[in-house]
């Protein structure tokens, strides 16, 4: 069976080649990831700080216990959740409206879409500054415009609830265009015949939207919501610039708290612990992403 042997030889050489080409990149990733990762897990079982010269002490799950008993952790967790639970629906609804407005091509629509997308790639630190100036209670344009319609000036960044609203405002400004873009791609992938069939059946515009367009957009909505959850878990720079987590701990997100524990308190053990907790959450989201988005590629537009 010379033929099969040849096939097997080719397969073997292909496997070798595949591993060989994957090697350099894998080595880099593993060196940069696995080392720190193992070190992090290890540290999460130790009471260890850089702030005092006390030698580290092995403490089993004590760090985890203190983390889950710490109301500051739950506050940060809740703040991240609030940004997701309030921000993502607002951004999705707003993005849907804008996407529907932009869906039908018109002269210059490409340029308009491009202009809409500018906030997405703005340096996050600059985004923080932009809103810091805009929200300034005395000289900011927002309070000025509100003043024109009779609203008294608000101390946006000084009051806890308003500071959270400011973070949401900034997040919505930066990421609604991204959601719009994904929804536009989803809308473009819906075949014309579907709309024609709906119109032949005599369905009204709003019926078509709810019964035809929305169900067909479900896969892209799933994708964009998962991505937004991931991005919100990651967000650090603009929050750090705009509020620094304050006033008090009012806008402290998980990322900001992780930074504070690590580099303000220099608590190595605790920072490792909160990192492990976030890693576990993200692992679950990555699994979900693979199941809902990648294994259903046919459902997403291409």
């Amino acid at each position: 069976m010379a033929g099969t042997e040849r096939v097997m030889a080719i397969e073997a050489s292909q496997k070798r080649f595949a591993r060989l080409t994957a090697l350099p990149g894998m080595v880099v990733l593993v060196l940069l990831v696995v080392g720190p990762l193992v070190y992090m897990f290890f540290n999460s079982f130790f009471l260890k700080t850089l702030a005092t010269p006390v030698p580290p002490r092995f403490a089993w799950f004590e760090n985890y216990g203190s983390l889950f008993a710490d109301h500051r952790f739950w506050n940060a967790f809740l703040n991240s959740m609030i940004i997701m639970v309030i921000g993502i629906p607002i951004q999705s609804a707003l993005a849907l409206v804008i996407a529907l407005l932009l869906n039908k091509k018109f002269p210059g629509s490409r340029i308009v879409v491009a202009l809409f997308l500018i906030p997405v790639m703005i340096t996050p630190v600059v985004a923080g500054f932009e809103w810091k100036i805009i929200l300034d209670d005395r000289f900011g344009p927002l309070n000025y415009v509100l003043g024109l319609v009779g609203v008294s000036p608000q101390a946006w960044l000084a009051q806890p609830a308003l500071a959270m609203a400011s973070i949401l405002l900034m997040d919505t400004w930066q990421w609604t265009p991204f959601v719009t873009l994904v929804l536009l791609a989803g809308l473009a992938a819906i075949p014309k015949q579907v709309y024609e069939a709906a119109s032949v059946d005599g369905s009204s515009a709003s019926e078509t939207l709810w019964r035809v367009t929305m169900p067909l957009l479900r896969p892209v909505f799933t994708l964009v919501i998962l991505l937004r959850i991931i991005f919100i878990f990651k967000v650090f720079d603009p929050v750090q610039i705009l509020t620094g987590g304050g006033p008090g701990v009012a806008t402290e997100t998980l990322s900001v708290l992780t930074y504070i524990i690590g580099f303000k308190n220099f608590n190595v053990g605790m920072s490792a612990t909160i990192a492990v907790v976030q890693l576990i959450i993200i692992t679950i989201i990555a699994k979900l992403f693979i199941r809902l988005v990648m294994n259903r590629r046919e459902g997403t537009p291409s």
């Binding site: 292909q14 595949a18 994957a22 940069l32 500018i118 790639m121 900011g140 720079d237 492990v276």
Partner: protein, 288 residues
Amino acid sequence: MTTTELRREDLARRQRIRTLLGVLRFALILIFLLIFLFPVYWIGIGAFKVEGEFYHYPPVFWPSQFNFANFGRAMTVFGGTQALTTSLVVAVVNTGLVIAFGVLLAYSMGRFKVGGENMSFFVLSLLFAPPVIATMPLFIIFKTLRMLDTYPVLFLSYILINMPFAVWVMKGFFEEIPQSIESAALLDGYSRLHAFWKYILPLAVPGIAVTALFVFIFSWNEFLFALIFTRSHAQTLPITLAGMTGGHQIPWGEISALSLIAITPGILLTLFFQKYLVRGLTFGAVKG
């Protein structure tokens, strides 16, 4: 009135409604556009204001005179030149490293499914993980190696941020190249590496270039790692910007000027590579 007259009137009414809706649509688009671009406009115009105009009520929406001195002071007094150089060097070198190490891995994953779903899961988890969780272990490691506040610390640590992204997106581009091209090259007696180098890579160049642009912008915009791993020698643009608020009076004019410079590459990418934006930002899940 005859039925034809009624019909005509009905048609005319519908036409009017359609025109009205069209006008409404453009009005709404314009309003949204103004709202979303206003913050960018505000920081942009701020670069040309004199200091007093930042502390003026009502706010100055259009400065009476364009003032360019902010750029000069931002570059010299506030260390903008050094920051700009550092950011440029770090972003270019990091992009080079990420692409160099990432291309083959992406090809291997896209074509031969190396590591299967576990590998995908590994790369995706890295892509999704908040960078802040890696800061403490890396800080201790880099401190031990005496690498803090040097260029190499950013070259290396940004690989962690960008390589999972680059590998994942380039993998998608490689998957789109038909397998028959390799088969033909192999039948012609080329080695696999040669086939990759001579036939596949040239076809992948546009995808690789777009990925590189994204990596460049991500490095350029990065703040957290630079904040923790550098102090003064390797200060990048975002760090210099953030540091400018340290004094007792915030130099908004200079901050705006430097901000305008900082956001220019990202804006250019958005305007000229819009087609690839959705693909990059959804990590290849939407091809756009």
